[in-house]
Amino acid sequence: MSTLTALARARAARAGRAVPITAVRHVHVSDEPLVVIPLMQAGEAAAPLAVMAGTDRGAPTLLVVAQPRNRDQRFEFLTAFAELLVPYIDARRQHTETVEATRSREEWERCTDAPQLILPNPGGVEALRLLGRSARFRTVDGPYPVDARVPLLGRYLTWFADDRAPMPGSSVCLALTSVLAQHWATGQSALEDQHLPALLSWIDPPDGMSGAAAALLAEDPDVVPPAGPATDPAFDTGVLAPLVRAQEEARAADDMRAVAKAEEELRAALAAQLEPTWETVWRGIDVLRALPAAASDELRWQVDRGRFTDFMTGIEDGAPPQPKRPSAVAAARRLADLESAQQSYDRTQAIDDPLVLARYRVGGEAFAGRITFVDAERQEIKGKRAWPRPLVVMQTQDEVILRPGVKLASPARVNQTVRLRAVRPAEAGGFEVELELQSGMGRGKTPEAGSVPAVGEERCYATFLAEQRGTRPELPDADQTPWTHGGPPWPHVARAEDQAEEWR
């Protein structure tokens, strides 16, 4: 944790209320997100108990599995979940825009929207991942036939929870606690921040109450039910288990009226557990929407829209379901993707947000101050040409621990590389930094207008902004993968063992 974030937490603890650690919102919030709150049965690998989902705050859909260990009921549940999710996804594909051809890709059509799933916490995302894994290899024939929408649902859920959710900067599948904790520091620990009602209490406490007090209250499962995917063990013991038993006994006795009554009671009990969380999630979305979007938000969402388009095209073209384990090349490529996405996300956040940049200033990777002297005429003769190399002197209160020769860039002009020439303590306190501008001044002998900072201007320079962006590793094509790395891969066939995978 950075010193700045730790200090923000200390301040939040003193104030009894969360303090912002970003000035803008670094995730996209769709106009019509699909809120999904899964509840899973304790002790089982992926046995859904209930899901509350929908795009309309006033009208959530509640899906309930009366006996989660019954395979047929689980399958009915997944079909119903698909009936809810598939139309939502299809509606995002109605309109497309043409993307011009680039060196690596021909002209293509990109969806103008993408789906967005918002879950209460990372546990919810993991629950979707497991549901996706349990559903995507099912088939309409074989030993355990299912509705055609079930494997499709499995592939969608896998894309959201496994492919995109871990990707830095992607907003198609968000865990609300992680997103809120990214934007606010609370006066409790990171562990306690994983509890959505408590976290939101710190950020947006009820009137007349401190965040600290509200969070303490929200932690009591008797007052506020947990946000899933696990249910409160006391609820399982006192409410759920007797209702499930009543329902099973009624079924065994073939008393359909009693079955209907028991199921209705079960539904009501689960609805009562889910409704407070439903309201909390939407309140969290309100809080996020109130923040101004980051400058890079559109661009990042555009990447999400592009990946969404590609994924849907792949499904239409008959691509196989995501493998249980990726091949060596696919895994290496995925790691490289994650790494470069993280770099780019870190970078754009620092450029867009002075509060994020401030963390780097404390860590010594950046410094900020006022320009006190500019020699815009300075040149350097290299070969037969003279190149503009303006000299800039800056006064900063930050402690500059960087050495001469290091390359820097400023969020105000990211593509301009600057070399640090010298650092000396200033008479008035702080440091005086001598910088040489090296690029981003046009092609002429003299710098283009506006490309050189002016005396009196406030600037911040950071090392990581001048770093070369990572190049992707060269990896062989799939059919060129050596056998040492599991290749070349066989063409995918729907394997009988996948379909026969037991599925209680």
Binding site: T5, E44, S189, A190, E192, D236, D398
Partner: protein
Amino acid sequence: MSPSVPQATAAPGPAGTAARLDALRGPVPPRSHDARTIAALTVNPGCSRRAVLDAAGVDKRKLAERIGFPARYGQSPFAITRGLAFEKQVKADNCAALLELLRAEPLHFDVPEHEYVDLGVEPEADPAAPASLDRAARYERTRQAFARVAAGEPLLADHPLLRLDVGGRAAYVEPDVVALSARPAGASASAPARLYVAEVKSFAVIDGQADPAKVGAAATQAAVYVLALRRLFTELGVDPAIVADDVLLICPTDFANKPSAHLLDVRRQIAAVERQLARLPRIGALIAELDPAVDFDLAVDPPEAKGEPGREHRSAVELAKSLTMVEARYAPECVTNCEMAFHCRSEARAAGAADALGRSVRDSLGGIESLSEALEVADGTAGAGSGQHEAARLLRAAARAYDEALRVVPRAADGPEADG
């Protein structure tokens, strides 16, 4: 025990320590350890409060309830049912499925035929008589069974009861199954067979992966069994290395109930548990330093008249006061391991301790323990203490950078296609 025993604290020694620990607990039987609580000793070993309570055998759950901070543990009945059903399945037909798992892919163990011994039932028990659960008898049966194992007989021991010395008191632990002798794949036929502890857990291993937290907890628990088993063999005069460093974790595979076996190296966990167990008797010094007034007597005398509440030896206020006199080392992670966590949290928060926000926050604050002190140093209203100059420099830089950044207007969006 007479309340005036200042002499006992002045002259410690093992007997004095034991007497003081008994006095601390009061006239109630000591709370005995099980594998879970022994495993928990390895987490946050620096906490004196827990060390003292554990050594004295104080019922921490009850203590937390009495002072108004009940622990929120509990297991869902669904999870319990599932766990029992899975264990029953693995152990069906005298653990035939378990042996088959070891011989099959991917372990390929060389497993001889085993004689199945259920140490949970009396050999000549009268079916009409209630099942004897006398722990000493069960432990003796376990001892005899393993004496035969030491002599080279392949025995599959179900429901064994092992003993570990925890802070001078015997604690009984019950491995899920078994110790069975097998040779790992590739070992030569002349290599000695080793004994394996098998731990049956009902969390799923999906595509070869399981929840790391659950695997970690299972590994530490299994390490306790390995250790207890090794102590038993040492007592029997057999080289304890006969018990393998690896344990067998038996879990359901993917989404079905089909069990699969996984080999888990628990050397690190064994070392950690051993270290903590060795440390417990040495808390004499800690005990000797305690204020004589510290007392966690949870006993309640029966009421004098019907319908009246019983007389508590110590009130909630007295108990809480005793707690404050034994230093805790609270961390947010305590909530998952220690019954006292909510009390310690409230105490840490009230004191404005940086620990309440987590170790990483405290470290990032340069090790300054008090939040108000850190904030004062950051704002420049307080000077830095000795050895805190580096922390103070960072905190002031952070405060200045944060406050300056709040005044800067963030970069505005300049069109969707701005940057390449």
